[in-house]
Subunit: 280 residues, 2 copies
């Protein structure tokens, strides 16, 4: 992998980490950053996260061999289309959005023929924001999901796979719909539940919320505007996931109401088995 | 604070951390450990967590000025009563259980007059088990709740408060019922919810469960037998807390169904505000 110019659009925690990892691992000769906030670009350059900040998306697009869009999910399609017009032939475009079906569907058949867009989602991140939290090891041994369509150029998919592997990721390839149904359970429902738990904590009891509450709700500190977009784009799968959780809560409720310790123990034991299988 | 002999009953993560902190901070001249598993006692002694392992509860009780019961909540009352019979006059007994009302109620009026029992709950811990995870700093700047009754000897309460402060804790005093209602929201409901989230994760999707899922469900790796006891002892408050969470989930569901991004954003923003107020 030797990209002459890699452009990261949206130089926050994720975008900054991709830029830093690409620089440190020598995947790209030059890493450009594009961001709507000039201060973020300046900070990213000062931190050595990017080589150069570029204010204008089209200018960066013209110079790029690979562009990665790390902006909120509902901003991605329009930005990809705007950039694609300016790209030179053969440029590969991808993103790092937490939802895939809406983005892929919106871009399907609309990206000019001289470039390729393939959706990506690296399963890594944190509730933090900004290039100062960029971490060159963020993707090491983490899964990155790529969501090609039947029309995707296989050679471009191979290149994109090599890029994510170059960042340290384990690549999984699946249809965008399948990704979204899975992530509704593994990421979007947990975010909703963590936020709901915060919603039931009265201010007067904050002092009594210890490690357990803090771990369980950590992701609720994420940026609401980003997550509102994710929830909106994956609304159907999230609405389908919610009753599964409510069903589990109902099972606990019935076991408690019946004072059935064997049933409570069985539920907790099954949950522990699942959690233990995930590792720390 | 200069206790001649401190006895820890149940030398796991919590009991071991109390023992280690008391030794390192010089709160007690001698720290005894009592545990039903001889291997745990040997390990705790080898690790320097306790000075001496004692197999027989009554033998340890006879030698103690302060005893702390760090066993599962439903084992505590019987162990306290058994030990209390053997204690010399003036011995102070407490516990570290996650529920308080049932323990305090069961012991109220039944502990012999020559000793005092006061309930304690240090809000610290982890999903790990055993003395090898003992941490002398586990209680530093954490809250410890003490739950005296109107009959509690004020001098004994002052001694117990000094003990927990000596371990680094910030002490809060409240009735056992109030503690249990609060902890239902701040600890027991989060444990139930983390476990319920694990319950909806199919084995085939484990690979796609990243940091967010792991943080949110970390406490579900806790020992089911300990948590079955906690849930049973705090059943009423937990059953009263559940509908508050279900109500929050319902609010998210309705906002999603109506495609009302403003409402979703408002819910997430309120949750973030609460989570930010807790710190990391």
């Amino acid at each position: 992998m030797n990209i002459h110019t890699l452009t990261i659009v949206g130089v926050g925690l994720i975008g900054g980490s991709i830029a830093l990892a690409a620089r440190q691992r020598g995947l790209a000769r030059r890493v450009l950053g594009v961001d709507c906030q000039p201060a973020t670009l300046d900070e990213a350059q000062a931190l050595g996260v990017i080589d150069e900040g570029v204010r204008d998306l089209a200018t960066a697009a013209r110079r790029s061999a690979l562009m990665v869009f790390c902006t909120p999910v509902d901003a991605i399609p329009a930005q990809v289309l705007a950039a694609a017009e300016a790209c030179t032939p053969g440029t590969l475009l991808t993103d790092a959005g937490s939802t895939k079906a809406a983005i892929v569907r919106e871009l399907d058949g609309r990206v000019p023929a001289h470039v390729t867009f393939i959706g990506s989602h690296p399963l890594a991140g944190s509730e933090k924001r900004g290039p100062r939290y960029a971490d060159a090891h963020l993707f090491s041994n983490r899964v990155a999901v790529l969501t090609p369509t039947p029309q995707t150029d296989p050679a471009a998919l191979v290149r994109l796979q090599a890029f994510w592997q170059g960042l340290g990721s384990r690549v999984r390839i699946m249809p965008a719909d399948e990704h979204d149904r899975a992530l509704a359970l593994t990421s979007h429902l947990p975010h909703l539940v963590a936020s709901a738990l915060c919603g039931v904590l009265p201010a007067g009891l904050r002092e009594l919320a210890a490690t357990g509450f803090r771990d369980t709700t950590r992701i609720a500190a994420g940026d609401p505007s980003i997550w509102t977009g994710i929830f909106a784009q994956n609304r159907d799968a999230l609405l389908a996931a919610l009753p599964l959780l409510v069903g589990q809560l109902q099972a606990y409720r019935e076991a408690l109401l019946a004072d059935d310790r064997t049933a409570v123990d069985a539920l907790l034991t099954q949950a522990k088995r699942t959690r233990d299988a995930l590792g720390s």
